[in-house]
C-alpha cells in the first residue's frame, strides 16, 4: 500500500505545472493513496504470467502520409486563440528555464 506524501504530490504537481494549495496537496495525497491501493491489485495477475503489453487496440502499422505540402492556417487563424500576440508571434511572460 503506497503512502504518498504531500512532498511527492507537490513534486508531481510541479512536473505537471499545477500550482496547488497545501490543503489541495493533502487531499490529493489521501485520494491518490486510496486509488493507487485499488489499482495495485493488477499485480496479482500480471506478475504471474509473462504477458506482453498492448499499446494499441488495433493491429495497425506503417500508416504514413506522402511528403506533400498542404495549406497551412492563415496567420490570423493560427493566432486567433492567443491570450496575447505581438508582431505575428505568441507573446508569453518571461521564461525562467533555459531552453532544453
Amino acid at each position: 500500500m503506497p503512502e504518498i506524501t504531500r512532498e511527492e504530490v507537490a513534486h508531481l504537481a510541479r512536473l505537471a505545472r499545477l500550482a496547488l494549495e497545501d490543503e489541495e496537496l493533502d487531499r490529493l495525497a489521501g485520494q491518490l493513496d486510496v486509488i493507487l491501493g485499488a489499482v495495485a491489485q493488477i499485480k496479482e495477475v500480471t506478475d504471474a504470467a509473462d504477458v506482453p503489453p498492448t499499446s494499441h487496440a488495433v493491429p495497425l502499422q506503417n500508416v504514413f502520409r506522402p511528403d506533400v505540402v498542404t495549406a497551412s492556417l492563415p496567420r490570423e487563424r493560427a493566432l486567433s486563440g492567443a491570450p496575447e500576440a505581438e508582431e505575428g508571434r505568441f507573446r508569453v511572460p518571461r521564461i525562467l528555464d533555459d531552453e532544453a
Binding site: A16, A19, E24, L28, L36, P53, L73, G81, P83
Partner: protein, 487 residues
C-alpha cells in the same frame, strides 16, 4: 403527424425528403423546444441558432442531401466545430472558438445534419455523472434531481428530453453507454478506429472513440453510417469498410445468434433492480431466438484498475498542451510573474478537481521508477482482457451485461467518493481496453428509472450490436420518460 420533436430521425428525414415539412421548420421546432426546457435540463452549453438555421436552409435548397439531411443533432462539446465555442466542459477553454472542424463535424455537415449546439459533459470527458462540468451539471429528464450519466450527460439528456433526435457522444470508459443506460436511450461506442478522432479533444488517446446516440436503434445506425469510416488525418483510423450497421438495424431476427452472459459482470455490486431487468432482457433475447450461455472473462475484474492507470496517464500528457500560450485561459499575468508561474496558476484555476486528480495520478503512474509498476503493468492487463474477449468469441457471437451497476443516482451522491464514481464504469471499460464495439440499449425500468443492456461484439462487428438492439426494440419498445416537470 406527430409533434416534430417526438419524431425519430428516420421519420424526420423522410418527412423532409417528401417535403411534408421543411428542414427549417424542423430546426425551429427543436430550437423552440431547447428554449422551452433546457433551462431545467441544462443539456446545452451553447446553442448555435444561426448556424443551425443556415444549414437547414441549405438542405431545403437542395444543396445537401442524404439519409439524415435536415435532422437536428446535439454535438458533445469535446468535438471541435469551427468558430463555435468548444469548451470540453472546462473553464480553461471558455470562449475558445476552434479554427477547424473535427472530421466528425465535417461529415455531419456534409450529410446535411443540422447541428443545434454543443452539449454539456464532465470536464475533458473525465467523469460518470456530468457533475464535473465547469458549467454546472445536467439533469436527468427522467428525474431532474438525478444525474444523466457521464461524461456525455448533455447528449443523452438532450435526447431524452426531446431537444434533439440525434446526438454525438464520445466513449473512453463508458461515457456514451452509461448515460444511454440511465436515460433510457441508445448509445453506441464503435470499434476503436472506426470513427475518426481528428478534432476529438483527447482524453485517453488509445481508448477515446466518438459514437452515435439516439432514441431508436435505426436512428443510431443511420448516424453511425454518416460519421464512421477511414480518415487519413487519424493514424489510428481503420482503413476498412464500415460494418453494415443500417442493414443490421433493420433485421429483427436473432435466430442462430449466440449470446454470452459475462459471469464477472453480474451479481454482487449490481443493484437488484438492474440485475432483474438484465435477467429479464436476457430471457427475452432467448425468446427471440438467440442461444444464451454463460461465459467467463476472468480478467474483466482488473479492467477498472488498469483503466484508472492507462487513462489518467495518457490524459496527463494530452492535457499538457493547455498552458496559457496558444489558446485558452491565461490568469495571473501581471507583468511580474514568469511564464512557469502563469502556466501553473492558469492550470490550477482552469482545471477542476477531477481533472487535476487524474493529471497527478497519471503523472505518478508514468514517472521514472513507477512506470513498470503501474502504466507498464496496466498495458499487460489490456493484453489479458483482449485474450478474454478472443477466447469468448470462440463460443459466442456477442457478450452481454448490465451497462452499469446502478440506475441514475441523485446529484451529489457520489461526489465525495471518487472510487464509488469510478465503479460506474466497471462493466463498460473492458470493451474500451479491447477496442471492440459496444452499445447500451434500453432494458426496462427499475423503480421508474431506466436500466441499460450492454452488448459487446468482436472488433469490426459493430453490426451485431444493432442486430441485437433492433430485435429487442421491436419486441419491447423502450418506455418514454414521463417528463412531469415540463408543466
Amino acid at each position: 403527424m406527430t409533434e416534430l420533436t417526438r419524431m425519430t430521425a428516420a421519420e424526420l428525414a423522410g418527412a423532409i425528403r417528401e417535403k411534408q415539412v421543411s428542414a427549417v421548420e424542423v430546426a425551429q421546432a427543436h430550437l423552440e423546444r431547447v428554449e422551452q426546457v433546457d433551462g431545467r435540463v441544462h443539456a446545452f452549453l451553447h446553442v448555435d441558432e444561426e448556424g443551425a438555421l443556415e444549414q437547414a436552409r441549405r438542405v431545403d435548397a437542395g444543396e445537401l442531401t442524404g439519409p439524415l439531411a435536415g435532422v437536428p443533432l446535439a454535438l458533445k462539446d469535446v468535438l471541435t466545430q469551427q468558430d463555435v465555442p468548444t469548451t470540453c466542459g472546462s473553464k480553461i477553454l471558455e470562449g475558445w472558438r476552434p479554427p477547424y472542424d473535427a472530421t466528425v463535424t465535417e461529415r455531419l455537415k456534409a450529410a446535411g445534419v443540422v447541428i443545434l449546439g454543443k452539449t454539456n459533459m464532465d470536464e475533458f470527458a473525465m467523469g460518470s455523472s456530468t457533475e464535473h462540468s465547469a458549467y454546472g451539471p445536467t439533469c436527468n429528464p427522467w428525474d431532474l434531481s438525478r444525474i444523466p450519466g457521464g461524461s456525455g450527460g448533455g447528449s443523452s439528456a438532450a435526447l431524452a428530453s426531446y431537444q434533439a433526435p440525434l446526438a454525438i457522444g464520445t466513449d473512453t470508459g463508458g461515457s456514451i453507454r452509461q448515460p444511454a443506460a440511465v436515460t433510457g436511450t441508445v448509445g453506441v461506442k464503435p470499434t476503436y478506429g472506426g470513427v475518426s478522432r481528428y478534432g476529438l479533444v483527447a482524453f485517453s488517446s488509445s481508448l477515446d472513440q466518438a459514437g452515435p446516440c439516439a432514441r431508436t436503434v435505426l436512428d443510431a445506425a443511420l448516424l453511425h453510417a454518416v460519421i464512421a469510416g477511414h480518415d487519413p488525418r487519424d493514424s489510428t483510423s481503420i482503413d476498412a469498410a464500415v460494418p453494415p450497421v443500417v442493414e443490421a438495424a433493420q433485421t429483427r431476427d436473432l435466430a442462430g445468434l449466440r449470446v454470452g452472459v459475462v459471469r464477472e459482470l453480474t451479481g454482487e455490486g449490481y443493484e437488484p433492480g438492474v440485475q432483474a431487468r438484465f435477467d429479464e432482457t436476457v430471457q427475452l433475447l432467448q425468446e427471440l431466438g438467440a442461444t444464451v450461455s454463460e461465459v467467463s472473462c476472468p480478467h474483466f475484474g482488473y479492467a477498472l484498475p488498469a483503466y484508472y492507470l492507462i487513462a489518467p496517464s495518457e490524459a496527463s500528457s494530452n492535457l499538457a498542451r493547455f498552458d496559457a500560450v496558444r489558446y485558452g485561459l491565461r490568469v495571473g499575468d501581471d507583468g511580474e510573474r514568469s511564464l512557469e508561474e502563469v502556466m501553473a496558476l492558469t492550470r490550477a484555476v482552469g482545471f477542476g478537481p477531477e481533472v487535476k486528480r487524474r493529471i497527478v495520478l497519471g503523472t505518478y503512474a508514468l514517472s521514472s521508477g513507477y512506470y513498470d509498476a503501474y502504466y507498464g503493468q496496466a498495458q499487460k492487463v489490456r493484453t489479458l482482457i483482449s485474450r478474454d474477449f478472443q477466447q469468448a468469441w470462440m463460443s459466442v457471437d456477442v457478450l452481454v451485461s448490465p451497462t452499469c451497476p446502478t440506475v441514475a443516482f441523485p446529484l451529489g451522491a457520489k461526489l465525495e467518493d471518487p472510487l464509488a464514481m469510478y465503479r460506474q464504469d466497471v462493466a463498460s471499460i473492458p470493451a474500451n481496453l479491447y477496442g471492440g464495439p459496444a452499445a447500451s440499449f434500453p432494458a426496462g425500468l427499475s423503480d421508474g428509472l431506466p436500466v441499460g443492456l450492454q452488448v459487446m461484439a468482436p472488433t469490426l462487428r459493430d453490426d451485431l450490436l444493432y442486430r441485437v438492439g433492433a430485435a429487442l426494440e421491436a419486441a419491447r419498445p423502450a418506455p418514454a420518460p414521463p417528463l412531469d416537470w415540463e408543466s
